[in-house]
């Protein structure tokens, strides 16, 4: 069993609040990602779960048992660090066996467990090597092995992919997911990389400046962000966020962005109820902006191609409407040059409207 619950957990360092009233529930066997930029409070949260840092306020429960007073060694939580921290003078076998030796398991038990873990991780052929003889990806698997060989209740992975190059990261993401299905352990992975979080996690907790902003499935975070930060942080290229003023004119309700206007009459009730002022932000994801050589019906804006990046399989196109720059995603067949004129429309079903002051989502 590996159920985790954090209730109102707060940690302060001097007058800085690193983690602020965090409420988090992780079900047994779930793979949860803590997503947020540097300083969001992810590592501090981990350290409190592991027991190496004491919360100033709040409670931590592991399998419904309050563990605030329990030292790390009694919590049965394994943590894997960014730097791997492998013992340089021990072989791969010895590194993985170490936590079991400390627990005084018999040699044959240790051998069985280590071999099993090595096979799951695909490192059986490396058992006699020393860390310095391993590649980055191999070292990481050994560090994982050392963490899971104890069969902990939960595994905390602190930015495990950060030190790997882009290609290896992409491969390891898939491997992690596959591995996770075999392990069935509760896993919490911290990362500043939104792609990692949404491609791997069952649920993702987005944090910033110590606060939990939204805790949901990747699908919900991407399509229904509840606030401005989540909307702008999840998804790459990032969602376009345009400052506008709410304007009522001739019975229609418009968002005036200066360089263009957008009719939001169909949302007028929601906006009236929830907006705290007329200062709003319009959000539209790059893939929901269409470009065409000819003017379409309805709201269509004339734009200039600012730069085209054929970042295959996507084509990323920065366009300029008036003085405003937006990013759009075009299909593989799109061809255009810097300076070309195009007509742009937004997918009506996919726009978001945020309150600029409260930063909360209205639509």
């Amino acid at each position: 069993m590996g159920k985790l619950a954090l209730k109102h957990v707060t940690k302060r360092f001097g007058d800085k609040t690193a983690v602020n009233k965090l409420d988090l529930q992780v079900a047994d066997g779930q793979f949860v990602c803590l997503l947020g930029p540097s300083g969001a409070g992810k590592t501090t949260t981990f350290r409190m779960i592991a027991g190496v840092e004491r919360p100033d306020e709040g409670e931590i429960y592991i399998d419904d048992v309050l563990v605030n007073q329990l030292p790390p060694k009694d919590r049965d939580i394994a943590m894997m660090f960014q730097s791997y921290a492998l013992y340089p003078h021990k072989t791969v076998y010895e590194n993985i066996a170490y936590p079991l030796k400390k627990r005084r398991l018999s040699d044959s038990d240790i051998k069985n467990r280590v071999n099993q873990v090595a096979e799951t991780l695909g490192i059986s052929s490396l058992l006699d090597r020393l860390p310095k003889q391993l590649s980055g990806g191999e070292k990481q698997r050994v560090a994982m092995g050392r963490a899971i060989v104890r069969q902990p209740k939960a595994l905390l992975l602190d930015e495990p992919l950060t030190n790997l190059d882009a290609k290896l990261r992409e491969q390891m993401r898939g491997e992690f997911k596959r591995l996770r299905r075999e392990l069935k352990t509760t896993i919490i992975l911290a990362t500043p990389d939104q792609l990692e979080a949404i491609s791997m996690g069952d649920r993702v907790a987005v944090m910033n400046f110590g606060n939990l902003l939204q805790f949901d499935s990747p699908d919900v975070l991407y399509n229904h962000p509840t606030n401005l930060f989540v909307a702008g942080f999840v998804g790459s290229p990032a969602m376009n966020l345009v400052e506008c003023t709410l304007v009522n004119t001739n019975g229609r309700v418009l968002l005036d962005a200066g360089d263009f206007t957008y009719d939001v009459s169909r949302f007028k009730d929601q906006i009236k109820q929830q907006a705290t002022s007329s200062e709003l932000k319009l959000g539209i994801r790059p893939e929901h902006i269409s470009m065409s050589r000819s003017r379409a019906d309805g709201e269509c804006y004339e734009a200039e191609i600012y730069v085209v990046e054929p970042a295959r399989p996507d084509i990323v196109v920065d366009i300029r409407i008036g003085k405003r720059l937006l990013t759009a995603l075009a299909p593989e067949t799109f061809r255009a040059n810097m300076g070309d004129k195009v007509w742009v429309t937004f997918d009506q079903e996919k726009i978001h409207i945020f309150d600029k002051k409260t930063e909360k989502t209205i639509v």
Binding site: A166, K167, I198, E287, Y306, V307, E309, A311, P313
Partner: protein, 362 residues
């Protein structure tokens, strides 16, 4: 005018051939990327063009002048580095003015040039600020300004975006491309990141172990790679490679991959003519594989889903076709691990390689 031509350029370090007989020409105003994994020779080549490394053999010409014996400072090139070494207390103005000061330019000349360049790069409002405390994006523009102010014939950029996090890199790529294209100066950009190279460059020189593999536009490199290495290096997730045998039967031609057989009758002539043996490799990019819940026609292949990775507007699906791993990159898709699916390849996008020579046939 700044045409750069490398002729039979070779560099040896003892027994190691770092750059092997490299010949290529960079047109005036072109933005070319040298792309390849660590140790491929791209940085050594850049250093030889810069003049900080001497070629063992071959020539480097800038505008038809052989510059092998010309010291760096006389080559009229400017290098932009990946580590922005700047004195934090120094004002932005002075940082940019530095190379001109070293040249002994007059105060008025310096003032004019610095302002001009700062305006083009959109940092004129920062001129009186100390460099420390500025964002990465701003510092990169200052570094570019420092190179630009010398009005060189050629810019040499050595992995300038490497130290930025993924999100910032993605933003800076577009800006940097726009800047460089607006300036119109011949530019050589070294990177190991294929996404950077294909997003930004006019042409890319892909290298591995010192040798040039292909020198072409990003579009051609991606859609028509000339060998296995280029096909596998460019594109993420990487192209799928499946070992097969070429089989002809009853007037039709097939690629036999064991677990499945793929009809390639329309390519039969070319394959028969250009292959050195029946051992071939089928290549198909992840985004050219469609994943279906039911069999979709004759060429549909059965697969088992292993991992599903939603990436926002797309989904990466890792599957097995028998023992062949296969990766698809589709739009948003509702499928789960362990599901049985049917995959189809876009016939207009398949590649066939000769396994022995590693060259592209189709």
């Amino acid at each position: 005018m700044a045409v750069v031509r490398l002729e039979n350029l070779t560099k040896r370090f003892g027994n190691v051939v770092a750059v092997n007989n490299l010949s290529l020409e960079i047109k005036d105003g072109e933005f070319v990327s040298f792309l390849g994994p660590s140790g491929c020779g791209k940085t050594t080549t850049l250093r030889m063009i810069a003049g900080v490394e001497r070629p063992t053999e071959g020539e480097i010409c800038i505008d038809d002048v052989v510059v092998n014996d010309l010291p760096s400072k006389d080559r009229d090139i400017a290098m932009v580095f990946q580590f922005y070494v700047m004195y934090p207390a120094m004002k932005v103005f002075d940082q940019i003015a530095f190379p001109l000061k070293m040249r002994g330019a007059s105060k008025d000349e310096i003032k004019k040039s610095v302002r001009e360049v700062a305006t083009i790069l959109g940092i004129d409002h920062l001129l009186n600020f100390p460099v420390g405390g500025l964002t990465m994006g701003e510092r990169q523009r200052i570094e570019l300004a420092r190179a630009m102010v010398r009005r060189p014939k050629v810019y040499l950029l050595d992995e300038p975006l490497t130290n930025l996090d993924a999100k910032l890199r993605a933003r800076m790529r577009g800006e940097l491309k726009r800047l460089i294209k607006t300036l119109g100066t011949t530019t050589i950009y070294v990177t190991h990141d294929q996404l950077e190279a294909i997003s930004m460059a006019d042409r890319i020189a892909v290298m591995t172990l010192g040798s040039l593999q292909q020198y072409d536009t990003p579009e051609n490199m991606y859609d028509h790679p000339t060998n296995l290495f280029v096909a596998g290096f460019i594109g993420t997730p990487a192209i799928n490679f499946v070992d097969c045998s070429f089989v002809e039967k009853d007037g039709r031609a097939f690629l036999d991959a064991g677990e499945f057989v793929y009809d390639i009758t329309e390519f039969r002539e070319n394959v028969a003519k250009d292959s050195t043996s029946p051992e071939l490799i089928l290549g198909i990019r992840p985004e050219h594989i469609s994943v279906n819940k039911r069999r979709a026609g004759e060429n549909s292949i059965e697969a088992q889903v292993n991992v599903v990775e939603p990436t926002g507007n797309r989904t990466i699906v890792r599957m097995s076709v028998g023992k062949h791993p296969m990766v698809a990159n589709t739009g948003v898709l509702a499928i789960s691990p362990d599901e049985k699916v049917w995959v189809n390849f876009d016939r207009t996008k398949i590649h066939i390689f000769d396994k022995k020579t590693e060259r592209t046939i189709i």
